[in-house]
Each structure stands twice: as C-alpha cells, then as structure tokens.
C-alpha cells in the first residue's frame, strides 16, 4: 500500500463518522438512484468494517464530508474526463471529499441486465475511490482494490490484505474486524 505525500487522513473525534451525499444535478439517468445508493452503501460499509469509521448518507449535499457526482468532460477541477473508458473516475485526498465519476462511462450495477461491452462496475470503482478519499494512493499489488486499473465488465469487490493494512495504518482497526473474516472473504472470492 502507498499513502499520498504528507500522509493526509481525516482527523475527527473517534469513533469517526463521515457523511456522504450525491449531487442531484450530476447523476446518471439510466441507473435507478436507489440502486446507486445501495452500491455506495455497500462500498462504504466495506471500508467501515475494517476501520473505526462509519459512513452515513445525508441529503445535505452542501455540508456532506464526501460529495459524489457524475461529471462529463471539463467539470471545473482542472482534471477533465476523457469520454468512454480511459479515465473512469477520480477523487481527492483527505479532507477534500470530492468524488467524481465520468458520466460518459456505461456504469453497471448488474452485469446480468447491463450487456454493454464497455460497461464498468460501479461498485468496484466506488470501493477504489473511497480508498483515495481515506488517504490511500495506488498500490502495485494486482489483487488490491487500490490497483489503478479496472477492465470493462470486471469486478474487484473484496479488500485485500494490502488494502486493509494500509487503511488500518491510517485509522487503526475496527474493534469488530478479524483477519479470519478477511481471509474467508478472500477464499470465497478465489473459489468463485
């Protein structure tokens, strides 16, 4: 695992609670918002299960710690998106909280119903970008969710030991986290 320069992290009272919200003006219209919310809830829960940080959705976009939106092309942060594939999403280091997805991608919440060859798994990208929001940079470990690439129609949903060690080095361990639960998850993923 790798940290950003200066090792930025969220500094709040423990147990830490971070809020997140979706930009109502910057969503995609072909995926139900309830499905998007469920995807992000699962993604945040995954990180929250290994560190003493909880994530709560809020309607108050202006005051949310983490602000999520789908944007197209030049969207004002100096890092324009590039259309289908190429760059899929980007987010910013703590404590910025900005989480931007490229609206030009064909985002999928279920590959059984989304047949596009260039469809990208929203949950996999959400898990990866949340890692950045928490302070992890890209890992060279190919199984890690913090590895920088993701092919269309691929999924990477399980935190690896590398991801867990990295985020726990920043925030400590969730008291309910056990290594065996992670290994069980790894084993079931490998069998699948």
């Amino acid at each position: 695992y790798v940290f950003f320069p200066g090792k930025p992290r969220w500094s709040r009272d423990v147990p830490m609670k971070l809020t997140y919200a979706f930009s109502k003006e910057n969503l995609i219209d072909y995926v139900n918002i309830s499905d998007i919310r469920a995807v992000f809830k699962r993604a945040f829960t995954k990180w929250g299960s290994v560190i003493p940080v909880s994530f709560v959705e809020t309607d108050d976009y202006g005051f949310a710690d983490i602000k999520i939106g789908f944007y197209r092309g030049d969207h004002g942060d100096g890092e324009p998106f590039d259309g289908v594939l190429g760059v899929l999403a980007h987010s910013f280091t703590p404590e910025s909280g900005r989480f931007h997805l490229d609206a030009a991608e064909r985002w999928a919440v279920d590959f059984k119903t989304e047949k596009s060859e260039v469809a990208v798994d929203l949950e996999s990208v959400a898990i990866h970008e949340i890692g950045h929001l928490l302070g992890l940079s890209h890992s060279s470990v190919k199984d890690a969710v913090m590895y920088p690439t993701l092919k269309p129609r691929d999924k990477k949903l399980d935190l690896s030991l590398d991801d867990v060690n990295g985020v726990q080095a920043l925030y400590g361990s969730n008291p309910n986290f056990t290594l065996s639960s992670l290994l069980e998850s790894d084993i079931s993923a490998n069998q699948a």
Binding site: P5, L88, H90, F92, H132, S137, S140, P148, K151
Partner: protein
C-alpha cells in the same frame, strides 16, 4: 479500442506510432514532467530518452509489471487499460493531489 487492446503488430510499430500518446499518458499520471525539456534552440534536450526510459521503469515498478524498461506488450496493454484518474503517488512528479494539499 481502449477496452480491448489488440497488439498483433511488433514492438517497433508500437513505439513509432504511439509514442506521443504514451508520453501524454506518462505526463498525465505524473511519470514525465508536464513540459518537454528544450534547449535554447527549441530542440528536445538530449536527456529526454533517459527521462522516458526512467518513466517506463517507474511505471512498470508501480504497476507490478516485469521491469524491462521497454514498451513491451504487457506494459502497453496496461497503458491502454481503463484506470483511475488519480496519478500514481510514486511517479515522482507533481500531481493534482499534491497541489490539493
């Protein structure tokens, strides 16, 4: 084309036809300086091939690829793969995230 890179051609063809795109990619993700180094005549300086090779080596190391220092098929396929827009921290050049902080 980005989703399914199909490099049936040889390595030389990759290097000659797509080198500027690969340089753009390396700049975008922090492996090369944002501007070419030029001398007073406006020519690219002699150390540019060294910078480029160094960028390839760092990229291969950061992405867990075989470290060959060459634009082999595996490296080019990785460059073509969809990815996160956050620059790689160990790329050594300034990123938007360094500026953010």
């Amino acid at each position: 084309a980005r989703s399914t890179p199909d490099y049936t051609s040889n390595q030389t063809q990759i290097q000659t036809h797509n080198i500027s795109e690969i340089k753009k990619y390396f700049r975008r993700f922090g492996y090369l300086p944002l501007q070419d180094h030029h001398n007073v005549s406006g020519d690219t300086t002699f150390d540019e091939p060294l910078l480029f090779k160094s960028a390839i080596l760092r990229y291969q190391s950061n992405l867990g690829l075989p470290i060959t220092g060459k634009l082999d098929i595996e490296t080019v396929s990785m460059i073509m793969a969809p990815r996160c827009g956050v620059p790689d921290s160990d790329a050594s050049h300034q990123s938007m995230h360094a500026r953010e902080n």
